[in-house]
Symmetry: C2
Subunit: 338 residues, 2 copies
């Protein structure tokens, strides 16, 4: 059996969770899918690159990172040259991106695909900015570009539509797709101020140091644009999503709503109306009869309206970095399973 | 392109909904999957069989049924001979079965598979009584035995696990899988008696004339046994499921629970405890913080606990006979897609 060489582009929380998951699942994957792999390249932001076409000891790489020690024989090649030197058949990309442009991930994914390597990405930026281009490029090279972890962590969303809903047409969707705002709104229901709720979300590692991308609905807009682009086959840019974040909701409104037995949720939605796809992100009051009501904390939900199933919802509870890593592992197995 | 001959074994609500769905989706399926089919056999309970290897006009068959007119050239062959005469490559089975034995569906599915025909079944009985045998028989003949519609209508449950969760291990599950009891409990919350709620469920075609299989939890037990058998790979008979139905719940208890802001739900669950799979069906009080709280009417839910995704739920809202038919259509495309 051939052993598949794989490489990591980005080795932060997600990359390392994937490394640990691959170590834990290696034997299962071999037994169940007859699929063997070895890591031949790791490119980090801080510690440079480790390249070894004979195979890198992943445990040792994780130890280096935890001790903040430089990799042995550190390289700093341009990324396309790093791919080539690693000889990897599959690239796992999980680097920081600019959501206005999807860069630098779009360029790196393009390079990987042009070199005939499968590209598995955890980023939504490239999906909204270059889905069609990257997918067509992948097809022309006989490889795949997959990105299950780009929306709702590792919950099967893109693969659900692709693999389990053949012949179905997704006509609309509604969802809660941003964990940070969902957690903040919930904390505010207990009387916490917005500032304190943001600080809490930052302290537990959910919110970024600049939380505006979450609070103003931008992160949700990118996600709904990604879902529309891929699942509804309508290319949509985040700028085309009508968008309102949670900053306009006052503590008094939250309390009034709570007394009515309702809760505020930041809801993403998209629907074809008179031939035109309309997508929006806006706070909504939802009652206890809504499936959105008890999507708590960092959990998320999406409900698809299709021409064959009136309302199919997927709910992901209590995600962790390993959840996101699992989405990439699932993509990996999809790519290489017989 | 070869045209695939297909046949219907059973042409009741589900079979006819499938026929209408196939007519509606025929062009889409051809365009998207390059998959052409023609119906060469229909076996009904009342009107006998229609067999024509050159192709039956489905619209005409539906018209005959609606007018209760005998099929032209009516046959009444033994079922294995019906399969052979139809020359069908794929059999769609949706006949009434005995849930204690899975018969006569198990025998018919076995005959179809032995003859080298794909078998797509809407029944859960054969899954709990003969999953391993039928699956191994299918493999040995190079065909498939699929049954997406056996649990939760056409929502992707079996295909979700098979296609979108590679390498994941399902360690436990919880669900609301019986529509009739869910609807009855909801009606009783408004003060309706059990008897009136049952009558209502019968009037809208959800409950059978003998509703005991729903009320005593047997239908739920068969479904949880099917999920355990296939998804947790532990063969489990419905008799091994610890089972309590909804008949013990009094109107007074329902009212008290409602006043506490909770609701009664008939919950199915399964979990490996100390190496042994324990499955049960029992009424539970659930609060508004539970994802089960707002699974209303005939909707259903299942939550999977896996070793990689802590809690992944699928919710199916407002199913119709066409929803069940879609599960069979999805199985059909899975079977023949390139």
């Amino acid at each position: 059996m051939p052993t598949h060489p794989i490489a990591f582009l980005g080795f932060g929380n997600v990359g390392r969770a994937l490394a640990r998951l691959l170590l834990r699942k290696q034997e299962d994957i071999d037994r169940e899918f007859d699929l063997q792999f070895c890591v031949t390249g790791i490119a980090t932001g801080r510690l440079g690159q480790w390249i070894d076409p004979q195979g890198i000891d992943l445990d040792r790489a994780l130890t280096h990172l935890e001790a903040d020690q430089p990799f042995p024989g550190r390289c700093d090649l341009p990324i396309p040259d790093f791919f080539a030197a690693s000889q990897a058949q599959v690239i796992f990309e999980s680097i920081p991106v600019n959501y206005e442009t999807g860069q630098p991930a779009v360029g790196y994914l393009r390079a990987a695909l042009e070199q005939g390597r499968h590209a598995i990405s955890a980023n939504k930026g490239p999906v909204v900015h270059a889905y069609r281009e990257l997918t067509e490029l992948a097809r022309s090279r006989g490889v795949q570009y997959l990105f299950e972890s780009a929306v709702m962590d590792g919950a099967p969303i893109f693969s659900l539509a692709r693999e389990t809903l053949p012949g179905a047409k997704i006509e609309g969707l509604r969802g809660i797709l941003n964990s940070t705002t969902n957690l903040i709104l919930e904390r505010m229901e207990t009387g916490e101020t917005l500032e304190d709720a943001v600080s809490y979300a930052q302290a537990i590692g959910i919110a970024e140091s600049d939380p505006m991308g979450d609070l103003d609905g931008w992160d949700s807009a990118v996600k709904v644009a990604a879902l529309c682009t891929v699942l509804m086959r309508v290319p949509l840019k985040p700028q085309q999503v009508q968008r309102r974040g949670i900053l306009g909701i006052t503590p008094a409104e939250i309390e009034q709503t709570r007394q009515l037995g309702q809760r505020w949720k930041l809801v993403c939605s998209a629907r074809v109306e008179q031939g035109v796809l309309k997508a929006r992100v806006a706070p909504e009051m939802v009652g206890a009869d809504s499936p959105f009501y008890n999507v708590s904390g960092t959990s998320s939900i999406v409900t698809f309206e299709t021409d064959v199933l009136p309302a199919l919802s997927i709910v992901e509870g209590n995600p962790t970095p390993e959840t996101t890593a699992y989405g990439m592992l699932a993509d990996f197995i999809h790519t290489l399973r017989k």
